[in-house]
């Protein structure tokens, strides 16, 4: 897949130059000013023991919560929601079991033993997300209202991402049953979708869909 130079891809490329998270490095991220004057300033709160070579804006107070976030300011400022001043794309590298040090350690050991292939796939899994401006457009079109709050967009993006996950994983199960290999084909996705519908994970329309 070719890389375009939008802020999200640029963040990925910069991350790929660094090594994957390894055994704990002492303390949080170091100093260095954030580029908040420029359009694509990269501000990061580094609060877990992760790799050290990152531009970090230290003015933010460090919290005890183990969160590591890369915030990239996007260029378009067409958001008018009350909660947001700028349109921010947030990169989440927070471990899901952040409050449990034992689970965190377990996660670290697993991650350290990943092959390159596994690591690349895991990275894609963590970093990929449906784009919020597009989702906002879709939601405005569906609801007919002009304003959609930021939390709603975030929640729907999260739900949709997990739904894609269910689709793809079920499709892989279908492929294993049929003893096929290679890229997933539309027939697998359709079968996977049918199975999800039977499980009740897909909202059913009371009226059948017309005029697609």
């Amino acid at each position: 897949m070719k890389h375009s130079k939008d802020p999200f891809e640029a963040a990925i490329e910069e991350e790929q130059e660094e090594s994957p998270p390894e055994s704990p490095v002492g303390g949080g991220g170091g100093g260095g000013g954030g580029g908040d004057g420029s359009e694509e300033g990269r501000i990061e709160i580094d609060q877990t023991q992760e790799e050290d070579e990152r531009p970090v804006d230290v003015r933010r107070p460090m919290k005890k919560a183990k969160t590591s976030v890369v915030v990239t300011e996007a260029k378009n400022k067409d958001d008018d929601e009350e909660e947001e001043e700028e349109n921010m794309e947030v990169e989440l590298t927070k471990y899901p079991t952040s409050s449990d040090p034992a689970k965190m350690a377990k996660m670290q050991t697993i991650l350290s033993q990943f092959t390159e292939d596994q690591m690349s796939r895991y990275e894609s899994f963590r970093r990929s997300a449906l784009q919020r401006p597009q989702m906002k457009k879709l939601l405005i079109g569906v609801t007919g209202s002009q304003k959609i709050g930021m939390p709603m967009i975030i929640v729907v993006c999260g739900i949709a991402k997990m739904f894609v996950g269910e689709l793809v994983e079920t499709a892989r199960v279908v492929m294993a049953e049929r003893k096929e290999s290679g890229p997933i084909r539309p027939c697998h996705i359709r079968e996977s979708y049918r199975r999800l519908k039977l499980e009740g994970k897909v909202p059913k329309r009371s009226v059948p869909r017309l005029f697609r």
């Binding site: 897949m1 375009s4 939008d6 501000i43 003015r59 107070p61 919290k63 919560a65 969160t67 909660e83 947030v90 989440l92 927070k94 899901p96 796939r121 895991y122 894609s124 899994f125 970093r127 990929s128 997300a129 449906l130 784009q131 401006p133 597009q134 457009k137 879709l138 939601l139 569906v142 609801t143 209202s145 709050g149 939390p151 709603m152 975030i154 929640v155 729907v156 999260g158 739900i159 949709a160 991402k161 997990m162 739904f163 894609v164 689709l167 793809v168 994983e169 499709a171 892989r172 290679g182 890229p183 997933i184 084909r185 539309p186 996705i189 359709r190 897909v202 909202p203 059913k204 329309r205």
Partner: protein, 123 residues
Amino acid sequence: MSNTPATAASKSKAAGTSQPQEKRKTLFQKELQHMMYGFGDEQNPLPETVALVEDIVVEYVTDLTHKAQEIGSKRGRLLVDDFLYLIRKDLPKLNRCRELLAMQEELKQARKAFDVDEKELVD
């Protein structure tokens, strides 16, 4: 970001929708490719698979939002809680949404503190 598909779609519409090459406006194509790879597909998923998944996801979001609107109309506005109510049975999704909302709150607080600190430094 999605300017090219949009203008292509409008051009084909102006020329008449009975054109053989009708370009569909894709919303999430690029991100979906990364996402499908992350979830188990190949590094480069088939374009027809990505198109199908996009259609399914758009339909899913649309239906979910319609249902949420029905619930929300009883109290007046559409709220985030309507979506949370709809996925209440699906525990992984529900927990993930709670996590996302908590994280957004945290970020908001951090950003607020950052703005305050910056102002103090300027003065």
